[in-house]
């Protein structure tokens, strides 16, 4: 199989479309009153981010994003939301008293980002390194198991601890 370069079509449109969906549904996540609607908005954000990863020639990360985030974590969220009492939550105040502080902090953060991007624009290399997309998975796999073997094992340990912790927390009587 010859490794061939793909020529993306209509990239800017895809980019703007996906980004718009991502940002708008992210706003939906924090604005909706009903947590289930928030979770559904989160799904849209995550899926459009997976699309952005595909545009960045990171298909493996995109696949993991879909299978783990959308198929796993969001299902977990929905599962928990179903167990707890939504009707009461919807009737309450959705925002706490520090919204002003929060907004201020966010604005400062935004200004910081803008400053960094404006000042640091020169630092970014303009031309991307080209990877053969066909071998992305293989390369990521090799890197995971050769260069990052120790972090990988630590991550697996972390997951084990998380499983045990979650079970201990959620179980009524052990």
């Amino acid at each position: 199989m010859p490794v061939q370069e793909l020529t993306p079509v209509a990239t800017p449109y895809f980019f703007y479309g996906l980004s718009a969906v991502a940002v708008l549904s992210a706003i939906g996540v924090i604005m909706r009153r009903n947590p289930v609607h928030s979770a559904i908005s989160l799904i849209f954000t995550l899926l459009s981010l997976a699309g952005l990863y595909l545009m960045l020639y990171a298909p493996f990360v995109a696949g993991v994003q879909i299978i783990l985030y959308v198929g796993g974590i969001v299902v977990l969220f929905l599962f928990v939301i179903m167990l707890i009492n939504i009707e009461r939550m919807e009737r309450e105040y959705q925002f706490n008293k520090q919204w002003l502080v929060g907004l201020l902090a966010a604005t400062v953060l935004g200004v910081l980002f803008v400053a960094v991007y404006v000042k640091g624009q020169a630092i970014f290399p303009q031309h991307a390194v080209r990877f053969p997309e066909q071998l992305n998975t293989q390369q990521v796999g090799k890197m995971l198991y050769v260069d990052y073997l120790l972090p990988f094992e630590i991550a697996s340990l972390l997951l084990l601890v998380a499983i045990v912790g979650a079970v201990v927390m959620a179980k009524k009587r052990i």
């Binding site: 167990l83 707890i84 009492n85 009707e87 009461r88």
Partner: protein, 391 residues
Amino acid sequence: MADILKSEQSSSSVEHIEAEKGVAPPFLDATELILNMGPQHPSTHGVLRVILKLDGEKVLNTECVIGYLHRGVEKIAEHRTYTMFNPYVDRMDYVAAVSNGLGYCEAVEKLLNMEAPPRARWVRTILTELNRIASHQLWLGTHALDIGAITPLFYTFRDREEILKIFEKYCGARLTTHAFRIGGCLYETYDGFEQDVKKFCDFVTPKVDEYETLLTTNRIWLERTKGVGILKAQDCIDLGVTGPVLRASGVKWDLRKAQPYAAYKNFEFEIPTGQNGDTYDRYMVRIAEMRQSLRIIRQAVDSIPEGPIMGKVPKVMKPPVGEIYHSIEAPKGELGYFIVSDGSTQPYRIRVRPPSFVNLQALGKMVEGALMADVVAVIGTLDIVLGEVDR
């Protein structure tokens, strides 16, 4: 949610509502919920309503609500003559109408201090046992359907059809037969009755084995039935549970042997029993009972005596003042009729002891700590008919 429950809730469930009134309604504890199973539900065998308090899938508490099919059969009896009431009993346990009729006719005969002629008793035995097979077949099909096996239903209905054909040929009705009269049977057997019954016996014997090939050793069936809905022998006796449910718990009690009625004392048969009293044992007991019924039918057909089929009964039935309790072994358990006579043409009071109603009381004990799916299996294994529970 709370409003719906409050509007039509039986007393004990209202207590839950009171408890949650302070806080928010739908979930009682963090993860508990009330599930209203029935009266319209595919597997409550009619209009039984079971209110389940669930913790996830686990059943914390059950509450049976009955009466959706109540027709006041016992009250109606007080305004009918003894003969006129006879068809009503068929409508109680409509899948075993013949047994109901037998119990009523024999009770009234006992009250009249008379006995049906031998030929009538033989015919009654044959028809009742046929009906027992039909009832068990219907039970097997629906019970398997409850547990998720859809195929046995069609097999059993195919074979039950043959029994109903015999009924139809004998008395013209298939379901609510009204086959017996006080003092005997109204109809003489039709030509070829014996051959039909024998042919049916030969036909259905391999079919019973066929049901077993589908279920008895099926891994999923074993997992779903073994150890589910266990009822100990002592619990059965305490709750008054009778019939196959009692026998599956290891109690060898069958009215056909204990207090023989009709022609049963002339036939050889065994009382199949189980040991564990779980759903699987009840299944095995009923399958074995079908085989024993076939055995009885074969003996009865071979030894059917000649003679009149209807005894001598007065035109106007006026039983002497007194009371009588007569019970028979219906397919579902002990079916008893308690009749009080004030010497008039109408009974003063009739009380029916329906096996389904009494057996249903065991439901709460059997599903304690079980899962939601077990409730369905247990309702199936109790073999209740709501026409009989509500009367």
